[in-house]
C-alpha cells in the first residue's frame, strides 16, 4: 500500500462559512508532508477532519487504505492507535504527571499493564532527550519546549505509523524550535514514521518537510517537494516564504 493518507475533495464549513473547499492530497509511507498556510486558512480543521475529530461535510479520507467515515467507533479507535498526534499546546493531561501522560495511551488504549507501559514510556522519554528525573513532574511545572517533548514522547509511545504535528514549534524560541525539528526529523527518518505537519513556521517547514502543500482560503493552491520551494515562481509560495506584506495573500 503506497499511501498512508489519502484525502480527496474534503469540504467543511462552520455555519455558512466554508473552511475547507475540496482539499485533496496523498502522503506516501515514510514521507514527511507539511501543510503550510496563514492563520485561519483551515489547516487545523483539515487535521481534525482526517482524524475524524470533526465530521467533514463532503469528501473522503483514507488512513492506511481504510475510509475513516465508514469505520465503526471500535475500528476507528484501532486506526487511531496507529496515529500519534502532537497538539499545538501539547494537550498534556493536567491531572497526570509526565510518566502517566506518556503511558496513558498504552494503558488505556492498548490495554498494556502499568508496569510494562511505564518501561516503554521511560524509553520514549529517553528518545526525546528527557531523563527519568522528569517522570514525576506535572505538566504545569514544565517549560513550553519540555511540554512539546513530553507530548512527542506520548505521540510515539504507541509505535504509530503516522504522526500528526499541529504547529509543533509555535511559541518556542529558535533554539528549542531547532531541537523539536530535529526530533521530528529523527521520528520520520530514523523510525520510518510518516508525518503530516501543520505549520506557518517557514524555517521549521524547510527542515522537516519532504513535500509541502500550501493551503489558502480552504483550498490546496500549491503542492511540491522541499526543493521546489526554492525554485518555484508561484506568487503565493514566494510571498509566504519571503514573508512579504505585499502580494496575492493580501489582495485575496
Amino acid at each position: 500500500m503506497p499511501y498512508v493518507i489519502e484525502v480527496e475533495n474534503l469540504e467543511h464549513s462552520f455555519g455558512k462559512k466554508p473552511v475547507l473547499r475540496g482539499v485533496s492530497f496523498k502522503i506516501r509511507r515514510g514521507e514527511s508532508y507539511v501543510v503550510i498556510g496563514g492563520s485561519g486558512s483551515g489547516k487545523s480543521v483539515l487535521m481534525k477532519c482526517i482524524l475524524r475529530l470533526i465530521k467533514p461535510r463532503a469528501g473522503t479520507v483514507k488512513i492506511n487504505g481504510q475510509d475513516v467515515s465508514s469505520l465503526s467507533q471500535k475500528a476507528m479507535y484501532s486506526t487511531l492507535l496507529k496515529c500519534g498526534v502532537l497538539y499545538q499546546g501539547g494537550a498534556l493531561f493536567d491531572s497526570l504527571n509526565v510518566i502517566d501522560n506518556v503511558s496513558f495511551g498504552l494503558v488505556y488504549g492498548c490495554g498494556m499493564s502499568k508496569k510494562t507501559a511505564y518501561k516503554t514510556a521511560m524509553k520514549n522519554l529517553e528518545a526525546v532527550d528527557l531523563g527519568p528525573e522528569i517522570a514525576r513532574v506535572f505538566p504545569a511545572e514544565l517549560s513550553g519546549g519540555m511540554k512539546k517533548r513530553v507530548a512527542l514522547a506520548r505521540a510515539i509511545a504507541t509505535n504509530p505509523d503516522i504522526i500528526f504535528f499541529d504547529e509543533p514549534t509555535t511559541g518556542l524560541d529558535p533554539i528549542t524550535t531547532g531541537v523539536i525539528d530535529n526530533l521530528i526529523v529523527r521520528c520520520t527518518k530514523e523510525m520510518g514514521i510518516s508525518a503530516l505537519s501543520i505549520t506557518h513556521d517557514v524555517a521549521s517547514m524547510k527542515r522537516i518537510s519532504d513535500t509541502v502543500g500550501l493551503i489558502h482560503d480552504g483550498k490546496m493552491i500549491w503542492e511540491g517537494s522541499n526543493r521546489d520551494l526554492t525554485t518555484t515562481d508561484d506568487p503565493y509560495v514566494r510571498q509566504f516564504i519571503d514573508g512579504s506584506p505585499i502580494g496575492p495573500f493580501i489582495r485575496s
Binding site: 475529530l53 484501532s78 487511531l80 492507535l81 498526534v85 497538539y87 496513558f104 495511551g105 488505556y108 504507541t158
Partner: protein, 254 residues
C-alpha cells in the same frame, strides 16, 4: 418578527434537549460497556462523597438549628411545641436534606466538573483522549454520573442526621425542651418512607448535577471566557432542574 424570534427560541430549546439526550445516551451506553475505569469512578466517589462532607454538614447543621427556632416561633402561638421535633425531622428528611445537599453539591462539584471538562475541551485534551483511543464519555463523563447518583444519597443521609442533630441542640440547649422527649418525638414520628423518599430525591439530583456539569463542560468553547460562561450555565441550569424536579418528585412520592 415576533413569531420569528419565538420560532427560533423553540427550535433552540428543542435542539438543546436533543443534544443533551444524545450526550446522555452516548455517555450511559458507552459507560455501561466493559472495560470500566474503576480508578476514575473511585476518585469521583471520593470527590463527591468525602470532600463535600464539610460544606454539606455545615449547611445541614445551621438549617436544622434555624428551622427549630422558626418552628418554635410559630408553634408556640398555638401551643403545639411538642410537634417541633417531628416537623424538623420531616422537613429535613423529605425536603431540606435532599434539596440543600444537591444545591451545595451543584455549586461545589457541578461547577468544578464543568470547569475541568471545559478546560480540557478548549486545550484539546479531550481530542487527545480520543486520538489515544480512549472514549472521553466513558473516561470522563460516566464515572462522574455514576458516582453522583450513588453517593449523593449518602450525603443526603448524613445531612438528615446532622440537620436533626442541629434541631436537637437548639431545642434542648436553647429552648430547654426535655432531651428524652425530644428524641422520643423525633424517632416515634419517623417512618422509613420519610428517609427513603429523600434518598430517592438525592439519587435523582446527583444524576442531574453531574449530567449538567459534564454536558456544559463539553459545550465549552472560546477559551477562558467560554469556560466561565459554561460554568455559570451549569450551576444555574442544575439548580433550576433540582427545584423543578423536587416539586415533581414531591407530588409523585407524597
Amino acid at each position: 418578527m415576533f413569531l420569528v424570534s419565538v420560532g427560533r427560541g423553540v427550535i433552540l430549546f428543542l435542539s438543546s434537549i436533543g443534544k443533551l439526550s444524545c450526550f446522555l445516551a452516548e455517555s450511559i451506553v458507552v459507560g455501561l460497556m466493559p472495560r470500566y475505569h474503576w480508578k476514575q469512578i473511585g476518585q469521583q466517589a471520593v470527590q463527591i462523597g468525602y470532600f463535600s462532607l464539610p460544606v454539606v454538614g455545615m449547611t445541614a447543621l445551621f438549617t436544622g438549628m434555624a428551622m427549630t427556632l422558626q418552628c418554635y416561633t410559630g408553634f408556640s402561638k398555638i401551643t403545639a411545641e411538642s410537634a417541633i421535633p417531628s416537623v424538623v425531622m420531616i422537613a429535613m428528611t423529605r425536603e431540606l436534606g435532599p434539596v440543600l445537599t444537591a444545591l451545595m453539591v451543584a455549586g461545589r462539584l457541578g461547577a468544578s466538573m464543568t470547569a475541568e471538562i471545559g478546560t480540557m475541551k478548549v486545550t484539546e485534551q479531550i481530542d487527545a483522549l480520543t486520538t489515544l483511543s480512549v472514549n472521553s464519555y466513558k473516561y470522563l463523563v460516566f464515572p462522574r454520573i455514576l458516582a453522583g447518583t450513588i453517593f449523593l444519597p449518602f450525603l443526603v443521609l448524613i445531612d438528615d442526621i446532622i440537620g436533626i442533630l442541629g434541631g436537637y441542640l437548639v431545642g434542648v440547649h436553647y429552648l430547654h425542651f426535655n432531651a428524652a422527649n425530644y428524641i422520643h418525638n423525633t424517632i416515634s414520628s419517623m417512618s422509613t418512607w420519610d428517609v427513603t423518599s429523600g434518598l430517592i430525591k438525592g439519587a435523582v439530583f446527583g444524576f442531574i448535577v453531574c449530567v449538567m456539569g459534564c454536558y456544559h463542560g463539553y459545550l465549552s468553547n472560546r477559551g477562558a471566557e467560554g469556560v466561565g460562561r459554561a460554568t455559570t450555565n451549569s450551576v444555574v441550569s442544575s439548580s433550576i432542574m433540582i427545584l423543578l424536579l423536587d416539586c415533581i418528585l414531591t407530588f409523585v412520592l407524597f
